[in-house]
Symmetry: C2
Subunit: 420 residues, 2 copies
């Protein structure tokens, strides 16, 4: 017997029929003797309707009122699932964020969970009741207002709740059946990973894999909360109930690297089309020039990712290239133009026609030569590298967008990830 | 300067455009220096969508979950109105039932307000903020669950809030511009009443007028809370702000009878088509027969309204006629059949083809002959009276439904209510 958190996103609860399917997944776990807390999102479409009303009311709106309105979507789903569970003989009740309570900070619209007081919930779980908890929302206690975690926040709600309940496993049900070595829509030979370490999953999430929300993986990593990705679209009766000896048989389990017996050097290839490249040509090669460029960007809350400074050919001028998120590009260009006086004479060039391809694996820590292999393979296909960043367990390169599929496929084969 | 509660129902907030209209009404009052709390219903259509999801989930559903789901509709309206008010420069925030808190009893789906702690609200009103409060809902504190007051409960929310805030006036905005001497769809000469006493309004509401919810009038009467009925469809700029010296110039003000200078003997004619008539023919005329009939009906929670027992012609058998709500008729007939052994041999006849017409006026207390006039006028039109009930300030007769319009028009003229 285990304590389980099961999370279902918007497409998994899109209508009452889909909510019945979710109830069948929950019933399977309850029948196997597991204690279950369920975290639900709003029915897909509902949040969009609410957001569009808010925008119609005023484009510049109070984030606290936005939260009060948008959080109502999850309340509806939680109540409906509780009713469906009761109708198939499973004691259940819905819990809204303020009822648990899920305590957040004051950053309305993108709040962080500060604490979850799981006491009442644990009491009800011990009494054999299923707790259906609204994802994405909590209570900001100083003003007694509802706060939301921002889009995708329900994954984070689920992991945080699992931590508070000291759950054995946090199951995130989604529309894919696990984490793949790369995007299966691009590489047909992509394989499902039975296990992946927290660190690798965090890189995957940050680098473009949309399976789990980055903050939820951070939280899972910090608290070592075993988190599984699986599909709500597999018929409930075809899946086994979660048991410690079998829970890596379906989906992908995100866990401690110690639990992964055979580690690959490279576990996956991620790519992101969200990057934009900015180049400052022929800037003065003098001390303080980097501060003159990146200081104002930081002040404007714009994250800079990859940075390349060319070696100065004449000892006096150089080129500086870096990347920002595409959504930040217009604002970044404005900031740089405003800072032109401090930066000095230069030419400003930008492009969104780039892609970041990343190779991820905890095995890199103990294997040399991964980067060299990567650069050689890309060169052999005629792919030019525009920028590079590395960490202990990943290497990212920026390339022309036109080469993204070729690069991903080449690297997927190179590191032996292709399925037989 | 006055403290005002303004209540807007579902059709008054049907979409964002209508909510902007509501905001303009609120602005008029704020600009005049009034302190304003607004009570809102769900956007019309929203509650129906939520209820239909609940029914699809399960016909036999937990009332607490029903409440949690259905109450979300008002939260959306309250947030949207707060945003629109802010956008036109009026400080405002939304308050959900549990935030105020509005404390209710445990009768989920038809809960009663037990207490409203208006402290935080009063503080915000004093600071110049408009409070937008969700109608129809509150917090059941023992289980920390949301409870709803049942359909139409927002009127009651508004009056209860007005009492808690010690407001000078509770304005109920609806789709009619006041309380009329009778239904203007039936009698073209019906007149708007500038004032009506609590007692009369309570009879009107109970006897078929749909303008105000009965419980809200009860509450207003108990706490002597001046309550005004007016239309949200009159353009906001064509209406005057509420001021003690002018607030009877528009709408209808429900108030203490002492405030009504010239009282009419009869203030209004109400009618209700919700009645059904049951007759037990040839029952034994013996002690205990009434208990044998009405005991089982009371046990089944069926309200009996009018009762007529014919004088026995032979000293041994009699006829008993009474009315119940049409919705209770099938259940009442079942109960009576089951009680046949105790009642004894008799013939059971029922009809829904009846209407109750009522004449209401506090002036009746001091004027004799109102009933005699009524019976004579109806007789002169050939209208047969099937049953009669009276109270200190009303006389109701049950007649064939075919005569309802004729009866209402006849009585409206008889008591001098026709407009010139």
């Amino acid at each position: 017997m285990a304590t389980l958190v099961m999370k279902f996103g918007g497409t998994s609860v899109a209508n009452v029929e889909r909510i019945r399917n979710v109830a069948a997944h929950v019933k399977r776990e309850v029948d196997a003797g597991n204690k279950v807390a369920v975290v639900v999102s709003a029915m897909s479409g509902v949040t969009n309707q609410l957001v569009s009303w808010v925008r119609e009311a005023s484009l510049l709106h109070d984030a606290r009122e936005y939260d009060a309105i948008v959080a109502s979507g999850e309340c509806v789903t939680a109540g409906l699932l509780a009713i469906v569970l009761q109708s198939i003989g499973i004691p259940a009740r819905s819990w809204q964020g303020w009822q648990v309570p899920v305590i957040t900070d004051q950053a309305h619209g993108a709040a962080r969970i500060v604490d979850i007081n799981g006491g009442s919930l644990i009491e009800r779980l011990d009494a054999g009741e299923v707790a259906v908890v609204t994802g994405f929302q909590g209570l900001e206690p100083t003003r007694n207002r509802i706060a939301t975690l921002g889009r995708g926040g329900s994954d984070t709600s689920a992991v945080a709740l699992a931590v508070a309940l000291k759950a054995d496993l946090c199951d995130i049900y989604t529309d894919v059946d696990g984490v793949y070595t790369t995007d299966p829509r691009i590489v047909a030979k992509a394989r499902r990973l039975p296990k992946i370490s927290y660190e690798e999953m965090l890189e995957m999430a940050s680098l473009g894999s949309k399976v789990l929300q980055t903050r939820s993986v951070e939280l899972a990593m910090v608290y070592r909360m075993r988190t599984r990705v699986l599909s709500s679209f597999v018929p409930p009766e075809e899946m086994k109930a979660a048991r410690p000896d079998t829970w890596d048989e379906i989906g992908t389990i995100v866990c401690d690297e110690d639990e992964i017996v055979e580690t690959q050097v490279v576990s996956g290839i991620a790519y992101s089309k969200d990057e934009a490249k900015i180049t400052l040509r022929r800037i003065a090669d003098r001390p303080g020039i980097a501060a003159a460029i990146f200081g104002p960007l930081a002040d404007a809350n714009i994250n800079v990712d990859m940075i390349v400074q060319n070696v100065s050919s004449d000892g006096r001028s150089t080129d500086m290239t870096f990347t920002v998120l595409q959504t930040d590009l217009p604002r970044a260009l404005e900031v740089l133009k405003a800072a032109q006086a401090a930066i000095g004479e230069c030419e400003l060039v930008s492009s969104s026609d780039v892609v970041k391809v990343s190779v991820i694996g905890i095995g890199m820590r103990s294997h040399a030569g991964v980067a060299a292999q990567m650069f050689k393979a890309l060169a052999s296909k005629g792919i030019n590298i525009l920028a590079i960043t590395t960490s202990e367990i990943k290497i990212s390169v920026l390339i022309d967008a036109a080469y993204s599929e070729l690069a991903v496929r080449t690297l997927h084969s190179l590191y032996g990830l292709d399925a037989d």
